[in-house]
Symmetry: C2
Subunit: 426 residues, 2 copies
């Protein structure tokens, strides 16, 4: 027995996330701004679609381990914005916005950094070439993704089973030492990205295999962080947000999650690729146990946090996120333009109100190539969250409205040079 | 904004069910004993697989409007069992266990009956033959499913938009007048079976079309019933269970629900056909806000309620349900044999612990014919609730154990003559 299981999995236990949701707000229509990690994280930290920062590419979907590129210096990250008000800042966990020292968190407003510079399946052991099975093995010999502190590699071949624990200790330590002043902690767990690893304490303990073990350990980590905030006595002036950078990576068999009734997963602009969990927690400010059905996005977190901290949102560039404080506190509604679904640097779809128009779709399973739709496909996501029933023929006026919103979006976007193509020989 | 949405739909609002779950116990692995309504309801009321009562058939899946058959008189229903202890009993809503007077609820232990004798899409207007579109029209002229009180038709062509409201009034009235003694109310809503109808108060009010409207009205009805129990002051000695007779009827486009991450829906022995929502509520007895991950079935409700009322479970016949009071109160665990998935009168699959073995499957979509599996398919439902990964090759010992459990089940079953074949000319 347990409480809640707030996003509905029948057997994986997430008591700390459930408690967080019971004490806070759970979103049901929350979006990451991209279908894979690098662009999604760039959008989260800048409040801007990745097309504006060059942190996306149609072919090279994410930064590779030998990539020379990274988040451009002229982007303003949430950490940089908050530093204007004296916030102490830390990044713990997966970065994936640039491996070279000049692209690491220290150059983007973070006082402290501890974690992996990219995904935990990157940098395999040189000279060995394993097939697909490598993703299903808990093989620390094979994966050589380094752990970095500041800009230095402190462990070239970490035991990945310790990652969740190490990130958690680091986060808790940061919270404990920062209780004198305002702080911003960006904690990005490496898992449940494959290959999966869980600590001894959690390995084999869930009903849902290694994937379940990993999720239950992440849940434990959330509990530790919230407990640290309470112990530091800062829970009533700290906004905590739990979310993800994309949907489940469905090609990895049992080492994947599930998007429930949503269609497809990671890598796709179907809802399963970009609609993600989101729980917002702020005792006394965010009402307890509320389900929020309004649309919101990771980019909104930038605009919202900057405003809450009393900082001006950068005025010299387009910011795509909007301030959703009114949604969080339940004090009102927000005005929102169309939400745009990019795959890489290409606009695939757009959502306006309940309606989503797909110009192009691409399956992570079937023939993995773009499938253009002319006329485009139209779904009412609030009626049909699984995107099963194309109702384009019935709603020509809706399509016109979305087309207009998309034209407006396109007119306001100047694609930046992609950072994802420049490779440095290892 | 709203609270909870306890089974995870992103936009349909179910505040009363969510509150019921927050105050009670929500199951995540609860089963109906059949994939369509007649056999499922027979099992619920008798605690026995429908193969034992003859209330199933491979071809005639449910009782038709002109069927002469019905639940055999020698079956002991929950209502009959409880009458032994002086319970007042009522059935409100859809019956579907026999249309002739000798098969109506009055002959099966119910003091009162008000509702439709079968599904609300039966008995179409004679002489008209509409196609598939008839299911998508709110056409009271076409559907002529009668409303019965006791054994008399009181409305031959009821306005189906009033059904949920009428059933609710009837249930509330019964509760109000029975507060002096013990009572058993079996309330079986006609919706969300197609054709869908919602009252004026709810029509067009949800974000999820008519299906959403219907669910939100059913949720309102649950709220009315629980409020009536509180008003009568009997909530602390009343067990209330909310569940369904099968999964969503996925062939009905937007007039269907969703089984979330479960595979398939109504009519199928994949999980989506038979794993159903279940919320149990009993303030002071059932702990609040608990998620119950143990397996339980509608048949268990028979055995549990009979025992709770101090009645002996019938000893002259096999009863398949088990007493799950220990699960409900959180006081212990229960011993369970294999759960058997029948489609009609044929054994398709069996679950033992987390394992499910499919001998035969059949899709409600594709080519709708039985697909035998030799060797059978094996899934770990707790790891893989979506039944995607056949792991039969890896677990021969598990298969042996399930085979033994199935053999034991088969040895204990004598299939009864089916009640579903005997038709009377209209």
């Amino acid at each position: 027995m347990g409480k809640d299981q707030c996003y509905g999995h029948p057997t994986i236990r997430t008591p700390h996330l459930d408690k967080m949701a019971a004490e806070g707000m759970r979103f049901t229509q929350f979006y990451s701004a991209a279908e894979v990690c690098t662009p999604s994280r760039a959008a989260l930290l800048t409040g801007r679609y990745p097309i504006r920062s060059g942190m996306c590419h149609d072919q090279f979907r994410v930064l590779r381990q030998h990539g020379a590129g990274g988040l451009p210096q002229d982007e303003v990250t949430l950490a940089e914005a908050l530093k204007a008000k004296g916030y102490a800042t830390a990044c713990v966990g997966k970065w994936h916005l640039g491996r070279p020292a000049e692209h690491l968190p220290a150059r983007h407003g973070f006082d402290e950094y501890f974690g992996m510079p990219f995904s935990n399946d990157m940098q395999p052991k040189p000279g060995t070439a394993k097939g697909r099975e490598r993703f299903f093995e808990e093989d620390n010999e094979y994966w050589q993704t380094p752990l970095i502190r500041g800009v230095e590699v402190v462990d070239a071949t970490p035991d990945q089973a310790t990652l969740t624990g190490q990130y958690t200790s680091e986060a808790v330590k940061f919270i404990k030492t920062k209780k004198g002043g305002p702080f911003f902690l960006y904690m990005a767990h490496s898992f449940p990205h494959v290959p999966l690893f869980a600590s001894k304490q959690f390995r084999g303990k869930s009903k849902a295999g290694l994937y379940g073990d990993v999720i239950e350990e992440l849940d434990w980590s959330v509990g530790q962080v919230l407990a640290a905030l309470r112990e530091a006595g800062v829970e009533k002036n700290t906004l905590v947000v739990f979310s993800s950078d994309n949907g489940p990576w469905l090609i990895f068999d049992q080492h994947r999650g599930s998007a429930g009734l949503l269609r497809e997963g990671k890598g796709s602009t179907w809802e399963g690729g970009m609609r993600v969990p989101c729980i917002a927690w702020w005792p006394g400010k965010i009402p307890a146990g509320v389900v929020q059905r309004e649309v919101a996005t990771t980019m909104d977190l930038f605009s919202t946090c900057v405003k809450l901290a009393g900082v001006e949102v950068p005025k010299d560039r387009p910011i795509d996120g909007i301030d959703i404080a009114a949604l969080l506190t339940g004090s009102g509604s927000v005005q929102r333009e169309a939400f745009i679904y990019y795959r890489g640097a290409t606009l695939y779809a757009a959502r306006l109100g309940p309606w989503k128009l797909h110009y192009t779709t691409r399956s992570a399973y079937g023939p993995d190539k773009p499938q253009p739709h002319d006329p485009p496909l139209l779904f009412n996501l609030e009626d049909d969250p699984g995107e099963k029933f194309n109702v384009a023929a019935k709603h020509p006026q809706v399509i016109k409205e979305i087309e207009a919103a998309v034209a407006k979006h396109r007119a306001g976007v100047t694609p930046a040079k992609s950072q994802l193509v420049e490779l440095v020989k290892p």
